[in-house]
Amino acid sequence: MSSEIDNKYVISKLGDEYYGIPINNVISIEKMGTTTRVPNAPKYVTGVTNLRGEVVPIINLRKKLDMEEHEADKNSRIVIVNVDNIVAGLTVDSSSEVLEIHKDNIDKPPSNENNQFVEYVSGIGKTSDKLIILLNLRKILEY
């Protein structure tokens, strides 16, 4: 039972790529709401939002991963995650499915590339029809 959950990922899309977040870390997936800007916060922090009475910081995943901006639309979602008791929301272009990726089907992230992007990746998951970039949440929520 637990091993099955360990292998499940919430799949989100940023641009043309698919990204996977371990389902164990995901609290919920929310629609975009109003955020309050936090002065002096890093650029990729959109602000804080009121999630049912709790104040949750929102991280723009595109900015964090150094990707070009994308206007929020009706498909945009916030994936609320909890890593080591840090709760934050990650904005994604869309999020629709949960996939099971077995450990055997996960490759190590490419190490030859010398860009920052790689450090946010914990592995590349292979499914029948697409490659999924698995995110290293711990690194993403570090600053």
Binding site: R37, P39, V48, V55, I86
Partner: protein, 792 residues
């Protein structure tokens, strides 16, 4: 089910025990000052006794054993058999520490520690023993006869009193002549003669029996008298028909000692009833079998005691099961016993038949059979503790569950608040009013009468405000809870450092929020240690400086608006700014030029920078470099502030300011650009307007004149990256303060005062500057709370 209950009781036990320990602590500290105060000894005794009982019922045998020994020692002190001295107080203090530690251990682990505190128990025992040995040596030993052990407490007390008043106690054994015809009449004459010389406080056989001639030829009495032994003897010898008179001095101490011993042995005997036995008894009871405690005395003429015992055992075994024997069976086999032994038999046979069967055996002198109806009762107090254990043992699976439950206990325990029932009643009333207004609004929504609606909302507002107040009050605890650990700490420190310190605590009744209480303890300990270690001088140095030998340490708490102020004041050597400056330069915290520019206050404030420690030598207590910076960050983490006021050779004053509560505050909402920020009202001193030209720029620092003082101007827009409207010629200034320091915050406009609920920004944003939290506004959007402390 049992787990749940047990856990629940542990919480209660821990809470109550802590309270009792606190009482003990206070009494001990007082006692140390006034060693002769009997009521304090009584108080400590009472606490030890209560703890023993409580620990006993919970099955915490180690605590209960330790408190039992404490009780013994204290009892002796109360009886004046032991003189209280500093060593004894020290040992009791140690016991207190151990008890406190084990209670905390229980709070965390849900079970008692393995350690049975043998060391302490032995030391306690040695107190009682030592004193007794001394006394017996001093007063000469008197052989103890059996009957003396049955001397009741009354007789002992009477002798004690007598001794105080200078009377002597004599034990007189009189043998009448066998030819004596009217023994009781003769005895009557003897009694009369003795009563004329003193008081008879004891007689064996009892006086009634003597009157009824129910005695052989010999009787023993104890007489309290001023007359000396020879005189007594002479008087008695003048009475006819007396064969022999034996008079000896008697000392109650030997008697009371003897009694103690016997009680002790008795209790030990009972304790020896191990869980196994109790288990079986309980089981037997469930099956409808009876358990009997049988005491059998053999005739003194019995030659082959063990053989006789063997027959008795056989007889008993034929009727049931022997589950316990004292002395143990092996000893009985080896003839290692006196004339009597005790067994516990489980049997269906009833008591009379048993007795009959046993009495039919030759050479059995006396059989005493009691039905054990309740194990608890049978083994007395000790038993209750064992009984708890039994319950555990009988459900090992439960125990395991218990342990897993306990893993998470740590967080749960200690977060309780004891609430005055009046406050809860008040809360209850407000909630019922809330329900009333709800129904009223339901009605209103149908009629939609605007005027009534406004009225109803006003009513609602009043209730919520009172409700908030009431809830706050429920969360409030007197700061005493933090303070009460300090007297002991100061005592220990002053002993350790050979300094004399008089600790004064003021305003302990000041109330603060429960969450604040938890945070404020450590910083205060640190500051107090600092004051004692670095501040207050050695007695010799103090005399040299013309100060009283005894250093003064004042701990003061008082409410100040929405804050509580705690001051730690010592009359020690103070802090030397020159020394601090040198040290700061040496530690490269500041450069020499910077040092020259700083004011004395600013230099002293350097003490709060990380890695600063001025003590030349590192002592055991403080000065390990982990210093005031930790204090400062801890206090600031709860939105408080700390300042130092110091005068060389006069003393130092630490002023800590902490908010009354952390959860809900009054705040001023201000607009900056199109964003809304909240400023805690508690840090605002005034709101005023200022003309653009009144803001002066001095070396890059903008300042303004406020009530004759120049204070720095903070342009919030700049700090918070918001467009600043330069076009206006008048700004709204919110003057805020942090302790004695003030600053003017420029804002675009004011929105108003509001009660806000503080929400943490969360771990992720905890390092963001100038913000202390967030709050959710009426429309659901978030407004950030400005951290005034970091703005000044």
């Amino acid at each position: 089910m049992m787990d749940l209950d047990f856990n629940q009781y542990i919480d209660l036990f821990v809470e109550e025990t802590k309270e009792h320990l606190q009482i003990m602590n206070e009494a001990l500290l007082e006692l140390e000052k006034d060693i002769t105060n009997r009521s304090l000894i009584d108080e400590i005794f009472r606490v030890a006794h209560t703890l023993k009982g409580m620990a006993g019922t919970m099955g915490f045998n180690n605590i209960s054993n330790l408190t039992h020994e404490m009780e013994n020692v204290l009892q002796e002190i109360r009886n004046n058999t032991i003189k209280l001295n500093e060593d004894i107080i020290d040992i009791i203090f140690e016991c207190f520490d151990v008890l406190e530690y084990s209670v905390n251990f229980i709070a965390v682990n849900g079970e008692e520690e393995e350690d049975s505190y043998d060391n302490l128990i032995n030391r306690l025992r040695s107190i009682t023993k030592k004193e007794q040995v001394q006394l017996t040596v001093n007063d000469g030993i008197i052989p103890n006869n059996k009957e003396e052990t049955s001397l009741n407490q009354y007789a002992i007390n009477a002798m004690k009193e007598a001794e105080k008043k200078g009377f002597s106690s004599y034990k007189i054994t009189i043998n009448l002549n066998p030819k004596c015809v009217l023994k009781s009449a003769r005895a009557f004459i003897i009694f009369n003669t003795l009563e004329s010389m003193g008081d008879i406080i004891y007689s064996n056989p009892p006086v009634e029996d003597i009157e009824d001639e129910k005695f052989d030829l010999e009787f023993t009495i104890i007489l309290i008298s001023k007359v000396n032994k020879e005189e007594l003897k002479r008087k008695l010898e003048s009475i006819a028909e007396i064969d022999n008179i034996n008079i000896s001095n008697i000392n109650y101490r030997d008697l009371s000692g003897e009694q103690k011993n016997i009680e002790f042995q008795e209790s030990k005997k009972l304790k020896e009833l191990d869980e196994y036995v109790i288990n079986i008894i309980e089981e037997a009871k469930e099956k409808g079998l009876n358990s009997y405690k049988i005491t059998i005395s053999l005739s003194s003429q019995c030659m082959l005691k063990s053989a006789r015992a063997f027959i008795i055992f056989n007889t008993l075994e034929s009727m049931g099961d022997i589950i316990y024997s004292n002395p143990p069976v092996e000893d009985i086999e080896d003839e290692n016993f006196d004339l009597s032994f005790v067994v516990i038999l489980i049997s269906k046979v009833d008591g009379y038949k048993l007795k009959e069967a046993l009495e039919g055996i030759a050479e059995v002198e006396k059989v005493d059979i009691t039905l054990i109806e309740d194990v608890k009762k049978a083994i007395g107090k000790e038993g209750t503790s064992t009984k708890m254990n039994v319950q555990h043992k009988s459900s090992p699976s439960n125990m395991k569950d218990n342990k897993t439950n306990i893993v998470n206990r740590e967080k749960k325990i200690g977060k309780t608040v004891r609430v005055d029932i009046d406050r809860l009643d008040n809360l209850m009333n407000l909630v019922s009013e809330l329900i009333i207004i709800k129904t009223r609004m339901d009605d209103l929504s149908e009629s939609s009468n605007r005027e009534n609606m406004v009225e109803a909302i006003e009513y609602l507002e009043r209730i919520t405000t009172s409700l908030h107040d009431a809830v706050m009050k429920v969360r409030m605890v007197p700061i005493e809870r933090v303070f009460n650990r300090f007297p002991r700490m100061v005592r220990d420190l002053s002993k350790e450092l050979n300094k004399q310190i008089n600790l004064q605590m003021l305003g302990e009744e000041t109330e603060v929020d429960r969450t604040v209480i938890d945070e404020i303890g450590d910083p205060l300990i640190h500051i107090i240690r600092n004051s004692i270690d670095h501040g207050i001088e050695m007695p010799e140095e103090r005399t040299r400086l013309g100060k009283p030998e005894e250093g003064k340490l004042i701990l003061k708490a008082y409410p100040d608006g929405n804050n509580v102020v705690i001051e730690v004041i010592d009359d020690g050597r103070g802090i030397d700014p020159v020394k601090v400056k040198d040290k700061a330069i040496q530690k490269e915290i500041i450069t020499e030029q910077e040092g020259d520019m700083l004011s004395e206050d600013e230099i002293v404030a350097l003490l709060f920078t990380p890695g600063f420690s001025t003590s030349d030598k590192v002592s055991d207590l403080s000065g390990r470099g982990v210093g005031l910076d930790v204090v400062k960050s801890k206090i600031e983490s709860i939105n408080g502030s700390v300042e130092i006021e110091t005068n060389i050779n006069i003393g130092t004053k630490f002023i800590i300011r902490i908010p009354l509560t952390l959860a809900i505050i009054q705040a001023l909402l201000v607009r900056l650009g199109n964003e809304i920020y909240a400023i805690p009202l508690s840090s605002i001193t005034e709101i005023t307007d200022i003309k653009k030209e009144d803001i002066r720029d001095i070396q890059g620092q903008e300042i303004m004149l406020y009530r004759g003082k120049t204070i720095p101007v903070v342009k919030l827009n700049k700090l918070l990256n918001i467009d600043f409207n330069e076009d206006v010629d008048e700004y709204v200034v919110v003057v805020v303060r942090k302790g004695e320091k003030q600053a003017g915050l420029l804002v675009d406009s004011l929105i108003g005062q509001q009660e806000i609920v503080i929400k943490p920004l969360g771990k992720y944003l905890s390092k963001i500057k100038y913000l202390s939290g967030a709050t959710i506004l009426g429309n659901g959007s978030i407004s950030l709370i400005l951290d005034v402390n970091s703005l000044i």
